[in-house]
Amino acid sequence: MGRTLTFNIFRYNPADPASSPHMDRFTLDETERMTLFIALNRIREELDPSLMFDFCCRAGICGACAMVINGRPGLACHTKTKDLPDEITLMPLPVFKLVGDLSVDTGTWFRGMYQKVESWVHTDKLFDPKAQEERMDNALAEQIYELDRCIECGCCVAACGTAIMREDFLGAVALNRLARFILDPRDQRTEKEYFEVVGTDEGIFGCMGLLACEDVCPKEIPLQEQLGKLRRKMAFAAVKNILPKFLKKDF
């Protein structure tokens, strides 16, 4: 304790013609158990009421507060100042459209993503309100939930060099989402249909294995494993008919 923290914060308000992108410095005395949530709110309330940033749950579960903290994307509400040096640099997430200062528009990007990978259960069955639910193995349900834990914070996309360079790359979050539906027996999409969604250079074959996604994901979703599985599955799907029989197992 007793430290004085210096915050270098990216500032730009696109709605204000007088504003141009620059860094602002603020200093705060550190308090016990301080998080960036506490710090940023203090800066806004005590020093500069125009500072834009996003928090929602402030409990690390909604994904609203992702920003670049000393170079790496992460959840601000989740970050304790005592784990950081005296100088803290905060930038908005790249890839996503800037709203202002530290706030970005993730909503539009993610909506686009849902449409592109058709992020929903595809089935031709109709819901019967009188019937019992279809059974499912508990272990499988837990596996699906494991991938469903993604909070769409966008960190994995903002950390991925591929996504930063190539606008049309789907990003780990979308690939993980598809892996989730592939696991789910309720989704009746065939391998071929999945292939059409991600068997491309915008999809799984665009991923260069940079693994920043895995290393920044605040939910520690096993992205590397999922991307690996997906690559194998899609790659083998493409060569299925040329492959000799004994190699045709399920990847």
Binding site: C57, A59, G60, A64, E133, M136, E152
Partner: protein, 610 residues
């Protein structure tokens, strides 16, 4: 002025808003949902524990039925619930859970054979029937006779919201996020949509709709210590209240959760206690069985919160720089259980407290958690006061929760009410045509533009909106917290009235261009203080103790005089809400009686007038 037109406008894209939206979209109507944040960040995603529905698949849920669920709900509400709604709710809940399963929620499922569970910190085994293998499982939650809470690990709200949002995306429901409704467009009889401030650009837009739904969640953020997300500040309630004709039902009914962590007030799920977690005091002594021999830690929330406060007042709390607290102990559940079934809890403790719950105790205290009250609707979800206005979810007072909501009942309410109210909205849309009054639209728009111009130019004064808000926080927690009494409430009301005066004089220091956050706060602060006044004034008038509303000076539940629901409206320009009352329920399936926990005396309905 940009104008959007749609059949249904949902103000809120949490579970309730999206469920209604899906129903309307399914029936071919166009729907736009507004949300302050991308839909999936809505606060519904924070609910960890689960949702109640009497499926009765699990061993500990055997023999469960909607009737048992109904009895639990009404008892839980301390007979403040509208029993017609409670009935509709319990009957529909199992269908809604199955529908969620159909749409893709990865519910935890029954694993057959001997299973080890925990109750009161002790393990026991139960035999899960092989014929139920793979059906939706359930866990225990406070205040229920059976294990009835369907769950997915401890991310139930998250999993269900993600599923619903994918379904909404599939159905073509539009979600306009980072958009805040700041006023309803109405002519005193009909609701025609809302004036919306875009939180990306700061622009004002008009949304015209034939039906409008308020599903904006709770208003916990009128308290400083709240488990709610920072966006849960009553935006939907404020615009309803500002119409002058739409009442807020039971504003004083505020629930406190026993286990918010100290200092960040993040909730750790009731599932901790459901799975066998215990509460300890400064001497690491388990005190709950002394107060509640039968249910101990699993008594309903209001009871546990009160007992905790009572115990801390005896000086048995743990002192800390952030005030007194108690300990939650889940160490005996073991590493495996904690890191799978209670993983989010573990994450919260480690990231926000630096505490490892496998080996260490968790500091907790009762924290504002849920608002039972809200936009008063009839059993179809239609708001009182304006035609074409509906409400669902935590924002509404539909009113199955009365004065205390059971854990797991609110998440279930969002999808069940969403289904029911959605159906009624569809009926309404099929049966009515609306004429939009351009005068009303222009008038509503001009009024908001003028408000903003005044704030920016400090025309009414230069009060700092954050200072005003902090004053409100201080006042309401002292006056209308867990324990209430006439003296403190009176003081609180008069303080809040003074604060309201200041709220009307706020002005900006920062120019207000674009998505300016100070302007966002300034636009809301007057409404927040009004809501706080509804709470405090409602609590002051209600001279009894019922559910979460506990008056030290009136400890009895008074069914003779107060088996009623408060209806608070706000006349334009007034300094206090107008309070009216209606009977708590028109239909008595279950006459008022003893809850079986919580103690307390009851003045029966037929007791002679004092």
């Amino acid at each position: 002025m940009q104008i959007f037109q749609t059949d249904l406008l949902c103000i809120g894209a949490g579970l309730a808003g999206e469920r209604v939206a899906i129903e309307a979209a399914d029936n071919g109507f166009s729907v736009i949902c507004l949300s302050l944040v991308p839909a999936r960040r809505s606060h519904s995603s924070a609910a960890q524990g689960g949702m109640q529905a009497a499926l009765g698949n699990s061993a500990m849920g055997e023999g469960d039925s909607p009737d048992v669920h109904f009895a639990d709900t009404v008892k839980g509400s301390d007979w403040g619930a509208d029993q017609e709604c409670a009935r509709i709710f319990v009957d529909t809940a199992p269908i809604a859970m199955r529908q969620m399963a159909f749409w893709g929620v990865p519910w935890n499922r029954v694993v057959p054979g001997e299973q080890t569970y925990y109750k009161g910190g002790k393990p026991f085994t139960a035999y899960e029937k092989p014929e139920n293998e793979g059906l939706i499982h359930s866990r225990s939650f406070g205040g229920t006779a059976k294990w009835r809470t369907c769950y997915t690990s401890d991310g139930t709200g998250h999993a269900v919201l993600y599923t619903l949002d994918t379904r909404a995306a599939q159905m073509g429901v539009e979600v306009h996020d980072k958009a805040e409704a700041i006023a309803l467009i109405h002519d005193g009889d009909n609701c025609m949509g809302a004036i919306v401030r875009c939180l990306k650009t700061g622009e004002l837009k008009a949304y015209l709709s034939r039906a409008t739904l308020i599903a904006s969640g709770g208003y916990g953020r009128i308290y400083r210590e709240s488990t709610n997300a920072v966006i849960c500040d009553g935006g939907g309630h404020i615009i309803a209240l500002n119409t002058g004709v739409v009442p807020i039902g039971n504003p004083e009914a505020i629930q406190f959760h026993p286990t918010g962590i100290v200092p960040t007030d993040i909730l750790v799920t009731e599932g901790c206690r459901g799975d066998g977690g215990t509460l300890l005091d400064v001497n690491q002594y388990r005190f709950m069985p002394d107060y509640e021999p039968e249910k101990a830690e699993l008594a309903s929330r209001d009871v546990v919160s009160r007992r905790m406060t009572e115990h801390m007042r005896k000086g048995l709390g743990v002192k800390s720089p952030y005030g007194d607290h108690l300990w939650l102990d889940i160490r005996h559940l073991g590493e495996k259980h904690i890191s799978t079934k209670l993983r989010e809890v573990q994450e919260i403790c480690e990231s926000f407290l630096g505490v490892d719950p496998v080996h260490q105790l968790i500091p907790v205290r009762p924290t504002q958690h849920y608002s039972m009250g809200g936009v008063r609707t009839d059993k179809d979800g239609a708001a009182y006061g304006l035609k074409g206005l509906f409400s669902a979810g935590e924002a509404s007072c539909w009113d199955m929760h009365g004065f205390n909501r059971l854990g797991g009942n609110s998440l279930a309410e969002t999808v069940v009410a969403g289904m029911i109210v959605g159906g009624k909205v569809v009926e309404f849309l099929k049966g009515t045509d609306t004429t939009f009054s351009t005068a009303a639209i222009r008038d509503a728009m001009h009024r908001q533009e003028a408000r903003i111009a005044d704030l920016v130019s400090c025309a009414n004064g230069g009060e700092n909106p954050y200072t005003v808000r902090n004053a409100m926080f201080d006042s309401i927690m002292k006056g209308a917290g867990i324990f209430r009494n006439g003296k403190d409430l009176e003081k609180c009301v008069s303080e809040l009235q003074e604060i309201l005066g200041r709220a009307r004089k706020v002005g900006l220091r920062s120019g207000g261009k674009g998505a300016n956050p100070e302007l966002t706060m300034a636009l809301k602060i007057e409404g927040m203080v009004k809501l706080a006044l509804c709470v405090a004034y409602g609590a002051l008038q209600r001279t009894e103790s019922r559910g979460a509303h506990t008056r030290e000076d009136f400890p009895e539940r008074n069914d003779r005089d107060w088996l009623t629901r408060t209806l608070a409206t706000w006349a334009p320009g007034a300094d206090l809400p107008t309070l009216n009352y209606e009977p708590a329920t028109q239909v008595f399936e279950m006459p008022p009686g003893d809850r079986g926990y919580g103690g307390g005396k009851i003045i029966p309905m037929d007791a002679p007038k004092a």
